[in-house]
């Protein structure tokens, strides 16, 4: 269970999150929608521990742990995964090497046995197949020269490999073609279960036809202004955010 209470945060003296209250119970998938610049990515960065944000108030607990007290890598090892809105390029770093290093770093932190190169390759191929991606992806440098859609798929591949218990997907659907959207959604749905929760940030109701959310929240001006069931997304699509905030 992820519990966010009264969370306020600023960057470079500018307050972005102005008191977020949000609960994501274990096993549920919640969607966050909201206009550009409303603080959705900021929330996802604060949750995953990016530096540069001043957390001025509130708390975040995850399965009873104080999430904000943990280093980003500790959060990752504990099962938190962020699919970036803008995945980062790592020149010269092979994707396979990166994924295996990351996976093993997490396993080490949890006191589990590391996977060797052969076992990793087998696992990676299996996930690639699931996501209908080519093995070529592993040979390339992390996100370097990837198309927008390929970058997003690479994020989903990483998620599949890390097998997190809490995923934050920041506009993973943006830039995906129709087939990819379906495949990626299937990837997320495959993780669905009593021990998996997710926060899905999106601008489009269409994604929520594939990944059906338990709850939908509207983030505007740094606050959750409305919450509802999956029908809220349809309403937003039809009426825009002006109406949503008024209601």
């Amino acid at each position: 269970m992820l519990r966010i209470e009264g969370l306020t945060a600023e960057i470079e003296g500018k307050q972005i999150l102005k008191g977020i209250d949000l609960e994501v119970p274990k096993g549920e998938i919640h969607a966050i929608m909201g206009p550009n610049g409303s603080g959705k990515s900021t929330l996802s960065y604060v949750l995953s521990g990016r530096e540069g944000y001043d957390i001025t108030g509130g708390s975040v607990t995850w399965n009873g742990q104080d999430l904000l007290a943990m280093e980003p890598e500790e959060r990752a090892a504990a099962g938190l995964f962020l699919a970036f809105q803008y995945p980062v390029e790592l020149p010269g770093v092979g994707n396979a090497n990166f994924l295996r290093t990351a996976l093993n770093a997490q396993r080490r932190a949890r006191g589990e046995k590391e996977v060797d190169a052969m076992a990793f390759l087998k696992l990676a191929r299996e996930k690639l197949k699931q996501l209908q991606m080519s093995d070529e992806m592993l040979k390339r440098n992390v996100n370097v020269g990837f198309s927008g859609g390929e970058k997003k798929r690479n994020e989903v591949l990483q998620m599949a490999l890390m097998n997190p218990s809490m995923a934050i997907l920041d506009e993973t659907d943006s830039g995906l073609d129709i087939d990819a959207l379906r495949i990626v959604s299937e990837g997320v749905n495959a993780l669905r279960g009593p021990d998996f929760s997710a926060l899905v940030i999106t601008h489009y109701q269409r994604l929520l036809n594939y990944i059906v959310p338990d709850r939908v929240h509207v983030l505007m001006g740094g606050r959750i202004v409305r919450s509802g069931g999956k029908e809220l997304a349809e309403e937003l699509e039809a009426q825009g955010y002006g109406q949503a905030s008024a209601a």
């Binding site: 280093e71 890598e73 980062v88 997490q106």
Partner: protein, 499 residues
């Protein structure tokens, strides 16, 4: 040092992030008196039972050196060296050949073990009679090692095996005794005595080093490796390496080095000369991790090295690859003289500086023959308060029709108190030649670090990964086992550079 699995494990076992090779070995040593004068030069020569011509050669160098000024053009600064306050000869006391490892000075064995040299090779290095001359029983590709301990080569492995191919691999002192004609012909033929201050000093007092001769048409069946270690206190190490690849031959040579952790600075002034005849190839790889001094800048090695290769023959090729992570001050420009038509020179370099380290390194490519080609790829990484300079010269003579050079210099900065400088000199006197130069400077971006950390890597692992990516083009030039070691070294030398 031979970079094998064992070595890698040893490197991995570093926990406190200090300099892991900073141990001192208590071995009985034999010293020449402190200081430098003609008598010391004579003493060294006599100790090594050298012929008159070599003594004369040394004395000539010493006379030249006394008239020379220490250079100050490099982007490095260090307190004035007192050349009279050092020992110029220190050698482990030689005992009669041990019969088994049990009889070997346990301190020496401990040293080898700490360096990750496998037991089998330890035995050979320690000169155990009859120890392994057959590479067959070790599962991996053997590496022949020449170990230079302070001033003296202590042992060379796999000599018998190499001799079957007519390859000579021994210490230069032995070569002086057994192959004087080769030494006399080539010594100083690439780096003459008066070439520069440090090379000149080396010519006067060099004590040992490695010698390699690959006969015509022979492809050396294994990697050759020299392992240098400065151990004794206040000694300078002046090794001299000479590699000759005769027509159509091929050799890959590795060089590794360590020194104990000490408060005072120690001088290392080596000279390496390479000669490649028609169609010969020499690949020379260095992983340099001399003690860099502590985090406050105390101690460390002054590494003032002259390395130069002559591509004398047509279509010959000399390739330098270096990973420089150690030393307090590095002053080093491995160079190629491209005399033969269609000859090729390459320089691939990674230089890492952290804390108070200073590195001024690069290469010189002299294009003299027609259609000569050179490639320079330099990756400089600076962290802490260190200074890192690439200094390169590409010189194309009027006769070098169709010559080509490509230079790429990339600098990566970690933190905001370090410096990176690029000083490329280009002198092109041939209209048909083509010279290309590219340079970039970047910082490890916060978003790259965060991306890695969000995937579970800690900050140091993240820096290691990003830096290794940055160096990829150079690391891929290293022999495989060396490359793995170099990657670990990069990560270790940057420990504590972030956060």
């Amino acid at each position: 040092m031979p970079a094998v699995a064992e070595t890698i494990e040893t490197v991995q076992s570093v926990q406190e992030g200090g300099y892991k090779w900073g141990f001192e070995t208590e071995i009985e040593m034999e010293f020449a008196p402190k200081g430098l004068n003609e008598d010391i030069v004579r003493f060294i020569s006599k100790k090594k039972n050298e012929p008159q011509w070599l003594l004369d050669w040394r004395l000539k160098a010493f006379a030249l050196w006394q008239k020379m000024e220490e250079p100050d053009w490099a982007g490095v600064s260090y307190p004035k060296i007192d050349y009279q306050d050092a020992y110029y000869y220190a050698a482990p006391v030689k005992k009669a050949g041990p019969k088994s490892l049990d009889e070997v000075d346990p301190e020496l064995l401990k040293t080898y073990a700490k360096l990750g040299i496998p037991l089998k090779e330890q035995a050979i290095l320690a000169g155990v009679e009859g120890a392994g001359e057959s590479p067959a029983d070790s599962g991996r590709m053997p590496v022949a090692v020449d170990a230079v301990f302070d001033s003296v080569s202590v042992a060379t492995t796999f000599r018998g095996e190499l001799a079957k191919h007519g390859i000579i691999f021994c210490s230069i002192s032995e070569a002086v005794q057994e192959h004087p004609e080769l030494v006399r012909e080539y010594l100083g033929s690439v780096v003459p005595q008066g070439d520069n201050y440090f090379a000149c000093l080396n010519s006067a007092v060099f004590t040992d080093g490695s010698f390699v001769y690959i006969p015509k048409g022979v492809r050396c069946p294994m990697e050759l490796s020299t392992y240098f270690r400065i151990n004794a206190k206040s000694t300078g190490q002046f090794e001299r390496t000479l590699i000759i690849a005769d027509a159509g031959s091929h050799v890959s040579y590795l060089e590794g080095c360590t020194a104990p952790q000490r408060d005072e600075n120690q001088l290392h002034a080596a000279v390496v000369e390479l000669v490649a005849m028609d169609d010969a190839t020499i690949k020379y790889s260095t992983v340099q991790n001399w003690y860099p001094g502590d985090a406050e800048g105390k101690g460390g090695i002054y590494n003032f090295v002259t390395k130069r290769g002559a591509c004398r023959g047509a279509r010959s090729k000399i390739s330098w690859t270096q990973v420089e992570t150690g030393s307090a001050v590095t002053w080093k420009y491995p160079s190629c003289i491209l005399l033969g038509d269609d000859s090729v020179g390459e320089f691939y370099s990674v230089a890492v500086t952290n804390n108070f380290q200073q590195a001024d390194t690069g290469t010189k490519m002299f294009h003299i023959g027609r259609n000569t080609k050179s490639t320079i790829v330099s990756k400089g990484i600076s962290a802490g308060r260190s200074q890192n300079t690439y200094r390169g010269l590409v010189k194309i003579s009027p006769k070098a029709q169709g010559a080509r050079n490509f230079t790429q210099c990339d600098s990566l900065l970690i933190g905001d108190q370090c410096g990176a400088h690029t000083v490329p000199y280009i002198e092109n006197r041939c209209v048909t030649a083509k010279v290309e130069h590219e340079a970039t400077t970047s910082r490890i971006a916060e978003d790259q670090l965060f991306y890695c950390r969000a995937r579970g890597l800690n900050e140091e692992e993240a820096v290691g990964l990003i830096v290794n990516g940055f160096c990829r083009e150079v690391l891929k030039e290293l022999p495989m086992e060396f490359a793995v070691e170099a990657q670990k070294l990069l990560a270790i030398s940057l420990e504590g550079s972030v956060g």
